[in-house]
Symmetry: C3
Subunit: 363 residues, 3 copies
């Protein structure tokens, strides 16, 4: 693919300086840019890199002097991180999936396939499934009976979409994701040890875990519009109602969403997040990598949780949290600093006891 600098600037709605007709074939970091690359030098730290590389055109920070930097053309952007979304969208070739239905795919005759779709080899589409217009499905994907996928989806290789799952428009799904696995829900005839331990915080321990009996998942998974799901992420179906993911929410790789979970809109769940069954996550929430959320709780709107936070209890809207168990972020940072002071505290306490109580021995 080739682009003129002017085309890229137009896509960004950004100002262009100099020779807008220079043709570029890709984007690069400044120091490794070739002559036909657009260098991305969005902060002043990249100025030196421009001199090392060979780019004739660059995207620059607001206020940069493009001519002094030796460039022939420049695009200037006010918020560089946001500009990256436009530049990369324009330049992304996307995966190579041949139009039409591959002769090596297996599509049930009762499935409804929209116009202008691309379905790759080794894809299996089950009875009565519906695939929207312009949707592209890479190799090895399975879409089970009665599942519905909206328009303009991009489903990468090896994704598993279970029976009756409902997905909105503009869905993006990375390889290996599983949507609609059965929930992990088991019960014993009498109250189990784990039910008792949870109620008592571990002090009553008479009950025994007898043989587990399976609770089947009759519910499905519903996913809104503009959702993205990461590689090898798993979303379990609900027991009776559907597990749900709201509009514009994005899940990273290896995320686990238990049965009956409801995730709101505009929420980000980073890599390896786990959300246990029947929990609700609000709108505009951000959970950092490896965050864990207990079952049957509610994480309010606009909550931000730092990496590896373990959320054990209901969390009010807007809170910024960190730690195991989750605390307010500044409180946890203080706690972690204080842990390192504990040997000194113990010494101080012992010295005080010696001085005051004539009792210098500690445990």
């Amino acid at each position: 693919m080739t682009f003129t600098v002017g085309q890229i600037a137009a896509a960004l709605e950004a100002e262009v300086f100099g020779a807008a007709d220079i043709v570029v074939t890709g984007a690069s970091e400044p120091a490794s840019a070739k002559a036909d690359h657009l260098a991305l030098a969005m902060t002043p730290e990249f100025a030196d890199g421009l001199a090392q590389g060979s780019a004739r055109a660059a995207v620059l920070w607001d206020g940069a002097d493009w001519q002094a930097l030796g460039l022939e053309a420049a695009i200037v952007v006010p918020r560089p991180r946001y500009a990256m979304s436009g530049i990369t969208r324009v330049m992304d070739p996307g995966p190579d999936i041949a139009p039409g239905i591959s002769p090596m795919a297996s599509v049930d005759p009762s499935a409804e396939i929209g116009e202008n779709t691309a379905i790759g080899p080794m894809v299996v589409i089950g009875p009565r499934a519906k695939i929207g217009a312009n949707t592209r499905i890479a190799s090895h994907v399975s879409i089970a009976e009665d599942a519905v996928i909206g328009d303009d989806a991009l489903i990468h290789a090896g994704v598993r979409i279970g029976a009756r799952v409902q997905i909105g428009d503009r869905f993006i799904c990375q390889p290996g994701a599983v949507i609609g696995s059965d929930g992990f829900s088991f019960v014993t005839p009498e109250k189990s040890r784990v039910e008792e331990a949870r109620k008592s915080l571990g002090t009553e321990t008479e009950a025994v875990n007898a043989e587990w009996t399976r609770i089947h998942s009759l519910g499905t998974v519903t996913i809104g519009d503009d959702v993205e799901i990461g590689a090898n992420t798993c979303i379990d179906r609900g027991t009776i109602r559907a597990t749900s993911v709201g509009h514009r929410t994005k899940l990273d790789n290896l995320v686990h969403i238990g049965h009956n979970v409801e995730v709101g809109c505009d929420t980000l769940l980073c890599g390896q997040v786990g959300v246990a069954g029947s929990t609700r996550i609000g709108d505009r929430v951000v959970l950092g990598g490896q965050v864990g959320v207990s079952d049957n709780i509610f994480v309010g709107d606009d909550v931000v949780a730092g990496g590896a936070t373990k959320i054990m209890t209901k969390t009010p809207a807007g809170r910024v949290i960190l730690g195991y168990p989750a605390m307010k972020m500044d409180q946890y940072v203080t706690a972690a600093r204080n842990w390192r002071r504990m040997p000194k505290m113990l010494d101080d306490i012992n010295a005080l006891k010696k001085a005051v109580l004539k009792d210098g021995e500690d445990d």
Copy 2:
């Protein structure tokens, strides 16, 4: 599928009241139930929902007055959570896998396929593999040479079962699970830095990690009867002996079981649990989501570990634990509360030092 209320009650061995011949097509939460749904109102909190929905029949808590709730029929159950297992088992249509062997599957002529099996498209079954009677295998599954699967299994799409793996009867496996990947086992010619660091808790640090040499996995994986494995979960094969999972044990999604691990019977491992190599997990153990277990240790029978517990050392039978590192659950809850008190403790200590030792400055 349709059922009479009487049929469902009979499957539950529960008492039915009113018009047992009412036909239902599915189960719903009370407030969203349609006229042909069975409402699940198993605790008194759901009473209001029954009035909002249109269900004519419901499953009710023990002691409920079904007629006062406006129902035409009711099933009453003493332990609602347990009743869910029966209701959902009866109503689960299961995945739609056509009987027989799909013409788009690749089954080695030397494989032994039991009676009444269903093998979906794009399945690959290797030389000398044995598949038991009534087993159903969804699309894209691979079963390698000499693997053995028992009777009545349900293996969902995209599961990978490695060479020589042995699995019992009534196995359920969610999409994308990998059973029989190679163990993660590497060794250096001389003692490595990590071996030394573990022995010394990090105080000796002279050794260097030289080039890692692979220890191959000659062992396999053995799985008992009535086991369920979650989506994208991975179980490594053993080095010499087999990695093993006992009867009736259930693993959730994205669980990692290292090489040589032995998991007992009737044990539950929740989402994203990780068990490092050569560790033993007892019977009737429950490990909550994101629990981690160190290598080469033993977690005793009936242990219950709360979410994200990190088990670094041998754990006696019956203990209820939480935290990183794992402590008794009540001890960890106390510790977490005390972390928030540390700023006050530091202030108190400084005030005491000022008063007693004439030394008001702290670090």
Copy 3:
């Protein structure tokens, strides 16, 4: 497969005693060894097991008296753990993949396939991909357009290799791994709540997470020689430059490597490790299971992190760490011990306050 004891000793460059021509068909733990097995009794604790089993030949610890142990042949090794690499390499039959290209594979005519390769059923290889000589690819693997795989690779079932990914020689990849998924990178038009929260440690909370816009991943993934990747592990492509994994580095199962991450050489990342975007991991690093690493930081050469360590900040070379947040390992062990002493510390402080300050009440 059969081997003589002498052949195995030769492969190990180890000394053999007794009847070197005894034929064995496999390796076993001593107690369960059959007559045609080579018993692995590499420490004196296994001596009793030898008497229980039926092995005629064994691998023994340095200094063992093979004749007194009732054996007819013995191989003696100085460092048993290292010897395991040689024994298991010799005896590993490897997966059964028929030579040549399966008639049920789909290989694009423009792909370049090296000599002496084995490509299994249901494999899909895209346009212009290059596969090196002697490479073996099990069933259901997809290799997208323009990807390059070196010589002598072994790629297990269901692996996903994305467009333009570059991989060196002697690559081993366990089932279900995804190499080259899109990065998880989203941006809002104005500064988001999460950007503000990170800067202020959670004390400023005015900003709102507006609609997320996708930053596409134009970069790829580059992987050195002699790398091994675990089952269901995911490696995201870079935004502009490549995400990279250095020579001889090994990743375990369910590991998550974010976009732009650079992992050095000779490094081990154990099960369920997560590394967030744009972070650099040095050479000869070992990260234990479930370790998490924040984005945009550097973990120096030779760092060793114990299981579940959460690395939030830059870590100097050579450090041995543990905990959440990461501390020096001995410091964390001390902190965890002190948490259990806090109830006593609180009592002591209150007693001191009563004695000194006439203020016995605490919060």
